[in-house]
Symmetry: C2
Subunit: 375 residues, 2 copies
């Protein structure tokens, strides 16, 4: 099996690039003196996850209970399910905890805290709870200075147990300079430390102080007061992260292998079998300085072909054109030509595929790794 013979569209994972990305984040966390708790939501694949974690039992972060269950089956014990808990999901959390998984849940309001406490009392089970803090107005969580944080803590009653605070600097995705990232990274640290301090002053034992987003993690200079760093998309990187400025397109470990199936010469189009079903509908770079369309075009070896982009996509058709059409001849890419597309966003592109075809500095497919999906 090699990149000339496998069926397309196919998701290609460059193992050497992935390993470099993993090492970069591991070294970064080490230099900051914090625990790295990799987020496994991007790959949804044990073969990738086991390279990200640094002990067989974790720590790790997940975004769905399906991920928690799948990775628990492979032996990971220390996990945070980093999406606000819905009371209806507690039975699945309980099943994992009873199997010996140290799965922590998060919440940001008194009602959820009461529902969790009631569940723990009824089930005679301790669940570890963290309070979600909103450091940048991006999504969920309580603002660091909000006194409701202490009310939520008070509503977490035994046998439920408050163990920490968590925030995610999702707003870091909206900036693209080191200076702006540094402001986000400091705000993330300062916000979470302020919340931890408020709870400690109120008498709570806060052992986990958790921050993270790939852009802030790679920008952080001083995480005094923080105990751990979460990050996920760094494992593959993507064009969006390149637009934020924390990687180069050449660092992206994930690409879509496609085959040329036609041309529209008048329009300067090369048509491939890699449409949005295989690339995902993500157009995250549309609002960045450089709009990358549905992706950048590489040759079969993964070398970027300057000036080309996936300018459009249908369900099973990708349209490649030149940013400057002058002098571009689509016929330079004859029927059957294989190309590789770097995606806007590794998480949704990965999610369209049942497998990764793994390569390492050659066209040979050395392995095929399964990924799972669903909730």
């Amino acid at each position: 099996m090699n990149l000339h013979t496998i069926d397309t569209p196919a998701l290609i994972l460059d193992e050497a690039k992935m390993d470099t990305n993993i090492a970069r984040m591991r070294d970064k966390a080490k230099s900051l003196g914090v625990t790295l708790r990799p987020h496994l939501k991007t790959s949804k694949c044990w073969e990738v996850a086991k390279r990200q974690i640094w002990t067989p039992e974790g720590p790790a972060t997940v975004s769905t209970l399906k991920e928690a269950e799948e990775f628990a089956a492979h032996g990971i014990k220390d996990m945070i399910y980093a999406v606000g808990i819905a009371p209806q999901k507690l039975h699945r959390v309980a099943a994992l905890v009873r199997q010996g998984v140290d799965l922590k849940i998060i919440l940001d309001n008194v009602d959820s805290a009461r529902a969790v406490s009631r569940f723990c009392q009824e089930e005679k089970l301790t669940l570890k709870v963290m309070i979600e803090i909103d450091c940048d107005g991006h999504r969920s969580g309580l603002k660091p200075q909000n006194p409701e944080i202490v009310e939520v803590a008070a509503a977490i009653e035994a046998p439920a147990k408050l163990v920490g605070v968590l925030t995610h600097a999702g707003g870091s995705y909206d900036v693209d300079t080191h200076e702006a990232l540094l402001i986000r990274s400091r705000a993330e640290r300062d916000g979470i430390c302020q919340a931890a301090q408020m709870l400690r002053s109120a008498g709570y034992d806060i052992s986990i102080v958790s921050v993270g987003s790939t852009p802030t993690a790679l920008t952080d200079e001083d995480l005094t007061g923080v105990t751990e760093l979460r990050a996920g998309v760094y494992v593959f990187f993507d064009l969006f992260q390149a637009g934020v400025g924390i990687c180069k397109p050449e660092d992206i470990a994930l690409s879509l292998l496609v085959t040329v199936i036609g041309h529209q010469l008048e329009k300067g189009w090369v048509i491939t079998d890699g449409g949005w079903m295989a690339l995902s509908r993500d157009r995250g770079t549309a609002n960045q300085k450089v709009d990358q369309g549905y992706g950048l075009v590489c040759d079969i070896n993964g070398k970027i072909i300057e000036g080309l982009w996936v300018s459009g996509a249908n369900q099973e058709h990708g349209i490649i054109s030149a940013r400057n059409p002058e002098g571009f001849d689509p016929k330079d890419f004859p029927i059957g030509t294989r190309l590789r597309i770097l995606p806007n966003h590794a998480c949704p592109t990965g999610a369209q595929h049942p497998y990764y075809y793994v390569v390492n500095n050659s066209l040979e497919v050395k392995d095929r790794w399964n990924r799972f999906y669903g909730w």
Copy 2:
């Protein structure tokens, strides 16, 4: 199992609405006097497909060879793989044809025609070929008046066999009035008939003259000269099709069941566990007259709650807000509340899920149907 107890996010299929949509398209084809060849790409599910086809052996349309293989395993014989063939895929086509599947392929250029002919000669196998016509400059295909159509036909050499012409009025997705749709529908018919006529004049036997897109199919008034109609997304419909004007939001058979996990009161946000991983990244309505965000909000019974929309989404978080925030209290939707989201586009939303949870005029889940994915 009912909509209060199943885990969220979950893809809900309203069987009664689906049946109505299926009957509508079947009646339409009948009234036009053409064969309906339903496209099965939207559902990727045998339980849905078997309700769309009108004999156990088809006819049907597919967008991937995976679909062809899956549906062939359930007994469908007469299929068109309606994406331009890549020569590297012919081995999978041949395997199906040798099993007795009447799978037709399409192409729009001499190079592909030669590659198919060479393959058929080497394999001593007849593959049925159709020429793709471009009726509206939307995607692939040769313009109806392009003399290259005859050159492509000439390059299809025995034992490969030219059997027909096919077009897809994808441009119909860009309009939103009956008058504009009628122009697209007539252009689709006129274009394909012109191409068929050119080939017949050159001595070719053209038995299949195939048109289709859900918007033109439901608009067509006279398909004289056309033998068959293809359409796919009509089976579920979606907000995009409602924006085009060929269905109402109340006709949409697919929705995402979500659970409220938090609020941001200052911003007027209700936060749910239905993010873009479950809804897809499709923002197709963004360029329509009414931008529906990531979807419209219904109560658990599927009744639209006027004035609300999914205004934002993260990977596993959906943000619901009011178009007019005045007087909207997010706390009217407490933690644990279940809501149903109507999607922008049924095809990518469906593709995020391993199952359909089937309901029929009640909250009871009467069945869980598997869907497949990949290529």
